[in-house]
C-alpha cells in the first residue's frame, strides 16, 4: 500500500501531488462551476421568471438540511462495502448532473425543490468516497497538502460559477435557460473526467482482505476516531455559521449593507488561497493540531466582530480569519479521519467525522439563534467566544497523540 510510516525526510524535496488528486480536484472544480452557476441565479430565476417568492423556496430548501448528512454516511458505507469508491462517487456526481437536465423542464416550486434535493443527495453521496480516494492515493506525509490542493481547486470552481452565470445574463438578460445549459455542460465534463480518467482503485482488494473480514461497523468505531468525533463535535457546537457573523457585521450601523454579498467572496478568496499552504503546514505540525488552530482563527473572527467598533479593517480581518478557519479545518479533518481507521472503512470514517461536524454546526446555528434573540448579537458572540476560548486549549490537550498514531496507521 502507498501509506508510508511517518518520519519522512522533511527537508528533502516533496513528492508531487498524485495525479488522481489533481484529477479529482478538477472534477470538483467543474462540478462546482456547474452547481454554483445555477444556485447564483436561482433566486433571480424563481422571482423574475417563474414569479415565485424565494421565501417559499427557502422553506423547502431548509427541510433538506439533515438529508445530506445522512446520505453522506450512506455514501461512505456504500463505498467501503462495495469496494468501488469511484463508482459510488460517480453515482453522486451523475445524480447532480441529471438534476441539471430536469431543472430545464422544472417550472413549479415542487419540481425545483425536487431538483435541489437530488443535487443535495448527489453531493452527500459523492463526498466521502471522493475524500477516501484522495486519502488512498496520497502518502500520509503529504495528506494535508493533497487535501488543500483539492479544496483550492474546488473553491476556484465555486468562485467561477457565479462569474460565468452573471456574464451570460449580462449579454443575454433573459438567458436563464442558457445558464442552465452551460451548467449542464460543466456537470457532464465533470462526470466524464471522473468516469473516464480516474482509475477504479479498490482499496479492499488491494489489501487482500480475507473473505470473512469484510466491512464491519466495528472497524469504524475505532477509539481514536471516536476521540476525534468527540473533539470535532465539541468544537462544532461552538462554530457559529458565517452567515450570523456577516449579519452581526451589518448590525454595526456604519457598515454599508450594499457590500454584504462581497463578504462571501472575501471569505472564499482567503479559503482558496490558504487551503494548500495550511494543508502543507498541517503535514508538518500535525493535522489534529492544525484543526484546533483553525478554531483559534475562528475565535479571532468572533473577537473582531464582537469587540471591534466596525470599520473596513476589522471587516477584512474577519473575512481573512474565517477563510483561515475553513482552510485549516475543511480538508484537514478528512485527511485526519481517513488515517484513524482501517483502509477498509476509510470512506465511512471520513463520512462519520464530516457528519458529526455538520450536525454539531447545525445545532450551533440553532442555539446561536436563540442566544442572538435573548441577549443580542454582540453578547451572544462573546458567550460563544468565551466557551471556545476554553475549548481550544482543552481540545489541543485531548488531541495529543492523535497525529502520531495517525502516522503509523
Amino acid at each position: 500500500m502507498s501509506d508510508r510510516p511517518g518520519g519522512k525526510d522533511r527537508t528533502g524535496t516533496r513528492d508531487p501531488i498524485p495525479r488522481v488528486v489533481i484529477t479529482l480536484g478538477f472534477v470538483s472544480l467543474l462540478t462546482d462551476i456547474s452547481s454554483e452557476s445555477v444556485s447564483a441565479i436561482l433566486p433571480l430565476y424563481l422571482t423574475a421568471v417563474l414569479g415565485l417568492s424565494t421565501i417559499a423556496y427557502g422553506f423547502v430548501d431548509g427541510l433538506y438540511q439533515g438529508v445530506s448528512a445522512l446520505v453522506r454516511i450512506a455514501g461512505g458505507w456504500a463505498s467501503d462495502r462495495s469496494d468501488h469508491p469511484k463508482w459510488v462517487a460517480a453515482i453522486g456526481y451523475g445524480l447532480s448532473c441529471v438534476a441539471r437536465v430536469v431543472l430545464l423542464f422544472a417550472s413549479g416550486l415542487g419540481a425545483i425543490s425536487a431538483v435541489v434535493t437530488a443535487d443535495r443527495i448527489g453531493k452527500g453521496l459523492r463526498t466521502a468516497p471522493r475524500d477516501a480516494m484522495i486519502s488512498a492515493a496520497t502518502p500520509t506525509a503529504d495528506l494535508g497538502r493533497a487535501f488543500g490542493v483539492h479544496r483550492t481547486l474546488d473553491t476556484v470552481g465555486a468562485a467561477l460559477g457565479p462569474l460565468i452565470a452573471f456574464s451570460i445574463l449580462w449579454v443575454i438578460p433573459d438567458g436563464y435557460v442558457t445558464v442552465m445549459i452551460v451548467s449542464l455542460a460543466f456537470a457532464v465534463l465533470g462526470v466524464a473526467l471522473l468516469g473516464l480518467l480516474v482509475p477504479d482503485e479498490r482499496p479492499r482488494e488491494k489489501l487482500e482482505v480475507a473473505p470473512g473480514r469484510e466491512f464491519r461497523w466495528r472497524d469504524v468505531a475505532e477509539p481514536r476516531l471516536n476521540r476525534l468525533l468527540v473533539i470535532a463535535g465539541l468544537l462544532g457546537i461552538l462554530t457559529v455559521g458565517d452567515g450570523f457573523l456577516y449579519l452581526a457585521l451589518i448590525d454595526q450601523q456604519d457598515f454599508d449593507a450594499t457590500w454584504f454579498p462581497l463578504l462571501y467572496v472575501g471569505t472564499n478568496t482567503a479559503f482558496l488561497v490558504l487551503a494548500t499552504p495550511l494543508g502543507a503546514l498541517a503535514d508538518r505540525i500535525g493535522r489534529a493540531r492544525m484543526l484546533v488552530f483553525g478554531h483559534a482563527a475562528l475565535l479571532g473572527a468572533y473577537a473582531c466582530v464582537a469587540l471591534a467598533s466596525g470599520g473596513a479593517l476589522f471587516t477584512v480581518l474577519t473575512l481573512v480569519l474565517l477563510g483561515t478557519f475553513y482552510a485549516a479545518t475543511d480538508g484537514v479533518i478528512a485527511a485526519l479521519a481517513g488515517r484513524l481507521v482501517a483502509p477498509t472503512v476509510r470512506a465511512s470514517g471520513i463520512a462519520t467525522a464530516q457528519t458529526v461536524v455538520a450536525l454539531a454546526r447545525l445545532l450551533a446555528s440553532f442555539g446561536f439563534g436563540v442566544l442572538w434573540y435573548a441577549v443580542g448579537p454582540r453578547t451572544a458572540l462573546l458567550i460563544v467566544g468565551g466557551a471556545l476560548l476554553v475549548a481550544v486549549p482543552l481540545a489541543l490537550q485531548l488531541m495529543r497523540g492523535l497525529d502520531a498514531s495517525a502516522d503509523t496507521a
Binding site: S39, A40, P43, L44, T47, A48, V49, G51, S53, T54, I55, A56, G58, F59, D61, G62, Q65, L109, G110, S113, P162, I168, W170, V171, I172, P173, D174, G175, Y176, V177, T178, I181, V182, A185, V188, L189, A192, L196, L197, G241, D242, G243, Y246, L247, I250, A257, T258, W259, P261, Y326, D330, A358, R361, L362, S365, F366, G369, V370, Y373, A374
Partner: protein, 335 residues
C-alpha cells in the same frame, strides 16, 4: 486502454463544449430578435402624466425599456407610457415620491433601496443586504419599508431569511423589525426562526406585516413608537390594507407544500375571511388596492420569460379576474 479513455474524454468534451457554444450563440440571436421584433411601446413624456390619477409600475414589455419605472394615466391604462430612467424590481409610489428596490447585477450582484422624488428621480440610495422582495410607503409618503431575502452559505450549510426595515424618508431608521417585541396570544415570544416580511402602513405609527415562526405565518399589527408586533390572525402573508382601512388582503397558502397561494380578504371589524378563489393561478405577490373593493396583483406569463401582467379582482368570493395593465409589475395607484 488509457489512450482510448483519453480520446473518449476529448470526444465528450468537444461535444459538450461545442454544443453549448452553439446553444449560447443561438440564444443570443433569439434574444436580439426578441428585442428587435418587440412592438414599440407607445410613449409619452413624464410631465404629461405626473399630475393626474395614475399608476406607477415596473415595465415588463421586452425591449430597451424593460425593467424601467413607467407611469400611465388611470383613465387610459392601454395608452402611451411615460418612462423614467430608473430601474426597479419593486416600487411603491405616493404623490410625494416613490420607494424602489433594485438588483444591480454584476460579477458580485448588489442590491439598493432608492428614495425617488415626486418627479421619480433618485434622491437617496441605501444599500440592502439581499434580493428585493417588497416595498411600501405610508399613505402620506413619509415612511418607507422594505423586505429583502438574505441568503447565506457557508461550506456546511445553506440558509434563507428575510430582513424587513422601516425608516423615515430622509430621517430616523427604525431598523430591522426582527428586533421589535413579538406578541402572540398575549405572550412575548423570543423564538429563533422568526422572520418578518411584507409591511403595509395604516398611518405613521401603525402598520401590518407578516411574522413567521414555527412554520406558521401570522398577520401582525405593528406599532412604531412602542416597537411591538402583535399577532392578530394566523395563516396570512404579505398583507395590504384597503384605502379605507377596514379590510386587509393577503396571500394564503392553500396547499400542503407552500406552492399555491390564494388571495384572502379579512374584515378587520368582524375577523371574517373571504377567499378570492375566482383566481385559480397561484398569486405570489403583495397585492395593491385599486379602490376599497378591488385588488391588483401581478402574475408571470407562462409562455414569455420575464413578462408579467397586472390583474384586477373584485374582493368577493367568486369574482372573475380581469386584465388591468399588460406587461407590468409592482403597480402603485395614485388617485
Amino acid at each position: 486502454m488509457t489512450s482510448r479513455r483519453i480520446i473518449a474524454f476529448v470526444v465528450v468534451a468537444v461535444l459538450a463544449i461545442g454544443g453549448t457554444v452553439a446553444f449560447v450563440l443561438r440564444d443570443y440571436d433569439r434574444y436580439r430578435d426578441r428585442i428587435d421584433s418587440a412592438p414599440p411601446v407607445p410613449r409619452t413624456s413624464l410631465g404629461a402624466v405626473v399630475d393626474g390619477p395614475r399608476v406607477v409600475f415596473r415595465n415588463t414589455a421586452i425591449g430597451n425599456d424593460y425593467g424601467l419605472v413607467a407611469v400611465v394615466p388611470l383613465d387610459d391604462l392601454t395608452g402611451p407610457r411615460a418612462f423614467t430612467d430608473v430601474s426597479c424590481d419593486r416600487i411603491d409610489a405616493s404623490p410625494t415620491g416613490a420607494s424602489c428596490l433594485v438588483t444591480k447585477r454584476g460579477v458580485v450582484t448588489r442590491y439598493a433601496w432608492l428614495d425617488l422624488g415626486p418627479d421619480l428621480t433618485v434622491e437617496d440610495e441605501h444599500g440592502i443586504a439581499g434580493l428585493p422582495s417588497r416595498t411600501r410607503l405610508s399613505p402620506d409618503g413619509s415612511l418607507t419599508a422594505s423586505t429583502v431575502f438574505v441568503s447565506g452559505h457557508s461550506y456546511m450549510q445553506a440558509g434563507f431569511s428575510t430582513a424587513t426595515r422601516i425608516r423615515e424618508v430622509g430621517g430616523t431608521d427604525y431598523g430591522n423589525l426582527e428586533r421589535f417585541d413579538f406578541r402572540l396570544d398575549g405572550e412575548r415570544i423570543a423564538s429563533v426562526d422568526r422572520n418578518v416580511w411584507g409591511v403595509t402602513f395604516a398611518d405613521d405609527t401603525t402598520f401590518y406585516a407578516t411574522v413567521a415562526t414555527g412554520g406558521t405565518p401570522y398577520l401582525v399589527k405593528g406599532n412604531l413608537t412602542e416597537r411591538t408586533l402583535t399577532a392578530i390572525h394566523a395563516g396570512a402573508e404579505c398583507p395590504a390594507l384597503s384605502p379605507d382601512g377596514t379590510h386587509i388582503a393577503y396571500k394564503k397558502n392553500v396547499s400542503d407544500d407552500a406552492t399555491h397561494w390564494t388571495i384572502a380578504v379579512l374584515d378587520l371589524a368582524t375577523d371574517k375571511e373571504v377567499l378570492l378563489d375566482g383566481e385559480t393561478a397561484s398569486v405570489d405577490d403583495q397585492v395593491q388596492w385599486l379602490d376599497d373593493d378591488t385588488v391588483l396583483y401581478g402574475l408571470p406569463r407562462a409562455d414569455e420569460a420575464g413578462v408579467t401582467d397586472v390583474w384586477q379582482l373584485e374582493a368577493t368570493a367568486d369574482a372573475t379576474p380581469q386584465m388591468f395593465l399588460e406587461q407590468a409589475w409592482s403597480p402603485a395607484v395614485i388617485h
